[in-house]
Symmetry: C2
Subunit: 308 residues, 2 copies
């Protein structure tokens, strides 16, 4: 955070907006922020950069929704480790013409969701340029005493559960989703979560990531996969199931638990208002979709940033 | 860190490059990184976003120098609080065409300076788009037992010292500077640093920030300000002194200490190879430049990201 950081009036405004917070020893406006850290907890760190035209369309979504999304995608990563968010820093490159208004609306959107999850905005770096809006949030969290849930602990025989219906998030959920922070903490208390990931690339792609890290395979059952209303609405020649398997940015969690824990969780539903769905199992190897009693290889399709 | 994060081959490559590090409980490739934290130390957090065409010219500097700068500017912010760097996360938006080679060279540049300052690269988010290169590093550090040095503790009567010659960094130093981490730690051990800031916007602007936060004024003596060879080389109609006062990105430190501490430091020079220079004092109010025995108001000029 050097202070070549936008109109200083904006930084002053941000400082006025920053509520007192015991965790925040030094807030916005110095060279660094300083945080009081829970000595018993490993620190979790995640970062996501969103670019106008690629991850959102500023002209359609508006800046407040963009700020909200930029914070929420990071909260979702903390949820995927079953951690608690603590504080975020926010860097932006603002289009020069509309900078100040844009900056304030972005900040309001960031705060909307940060406040909802008890997350301090500790500082940032505000730039302007002739390019499109770029926003990068880095979020710090703490692992619970049970430790972070990784992608790598799934075992053959584990059941795979998902926290909500999937597909078609482009119709709105990608901006308005609720990060599954509270649900993940409760699941982590109630079950032996072997592995977990948030669905940002698409169910098939993200289960594939989880299985790769866990050195196992998976079998998903088509009839069991919860399909969102949005996925059923899109008329683009792809089936609702295909949308549920391949669309990114649902930001639900998919997790692997021993069968006995899974059965217990399913019986204890709903969990903080949500209903988990059993969509398949981890297997020794291979990556399969079972549909109408037939098993076929499942492509780990999903959104990938491609470059040479 | 969602996994829509560039070619997965690149993430695998980064994981192979990541050395074992006791502080890094979970490194690149999961939803979050996890760090073991020093329970006695407040966490310092800083973030800086650099954009091609604004903060560097990729075609002139090359990607390795850009990666180096992106890490070094953050290290300089940790130095400005007299902290120790611990770990960084790195988000990038890569131009689609040359992504992979660019990503690897950026990473090498980031590691060059991270390794030199015992800083782990814990994770990141790799995107591609049709825009110019944007890179955002967030750096975590820890305060020493003496605490972070803020901008706000300067008192009238304090001497102002600077860690090196200033001006003309555009000729090369803005890419190749050494963050003053080691020097700051030693200064913090040897003196009662009341306030400190790194010179990113320009000496006049940054001393002004320090004074504003400290609710005091400053008097700088023109004859005492160390002027770099680069500032003397530029032939653009502005004086070398003007360059030293107004050019940004020198990334030297300027700090306020009681006169007795300042005198002791100046006698004990050099400090880890550098020579601090006494450039003026903090005063009750006003912001002054003394030149040829005459005192004039000093404009806090420097680089500011302007937007409406």
């Amino acid at each position: 955070m050097n202070s070549s950081a936008g109109e200083f009036a904006y930084i002053d405004w941000v400082r006025q907006q920053t509520p007192a917070d015991d965790r925040l020893l030094i807030g916005p406006g110095d060279d660094c922020a300083a945080l009081r850290w829970n000595p018993a907890a490993p620190a979790l760190v995640t970062t996501d950069m969103l670019m106008d035209g690629t991850c959102f369309r500023l002209s359609e979504a508006g800046p407040r929704a963009v700020g909200r999304k930029a914070m929420a995608v990071n909260l979702s990563d903390i949820a995927a480790m079953a951690g608690k968010p603590v504080a975020a820093v926010v860097s932006v490159a603002l289009p020069r013409r509309e900078g100040r208004t844009l900056a304030e609306e972005l900040y309001r959107g960031l705060r909307d969701v940060a406040d909802a999850f008890n997350t301090a905005i500790a500082g940032g770096d505000t730039n302007s340029w002739d390019g499109p809006l770029v926003i990068c949030v880095t979020l710090l969290g703490e692992a619970t005493p049970r430790g972070p849930v990784r992608r790598s602990g799934a075992k053959p025989g584990d059941w795979l559960l998902v926290t909500g219906p999937l597909g078609g998030s482009i119709l709105g959920k990608h901006l308005a989703f609720t990060p599954r922070i509270r649900e993940a903490l409760q699941l982590h208390e109630q079950a032996d979560l072997h592995a977990m990931i948030d669905i940002s690339d698409g169910l098939a792609a993200d289960v594939h990531h989880l299985c790769e890290e866990s050195h196992c395979g998976a079998l998903l059952r088509a009839e069991a996969i919860p399909i969102s209303n949005a996925a059923r609405t899109i008329q683009d020649g792809r089936s609702p199931l295909d949308h549920a398997l391949s669309d990114g940015e649902d930001f639900e969690l998919v997790f692997a638990v021993p069968a006995t824990d899974a059965q217990r969780l399913l019986q204890a539903q709903p969990i903080r208002g949500i209903t988990c769905v059993h969509i398949g199992e981890c297997v020794d190897q291979g990556f399969w979709l079972e549909e109408d009693g037939k098993r076929s290889a499942l492509e780990p399709r999903g959104y990938v940033h491609s470059f040479q």
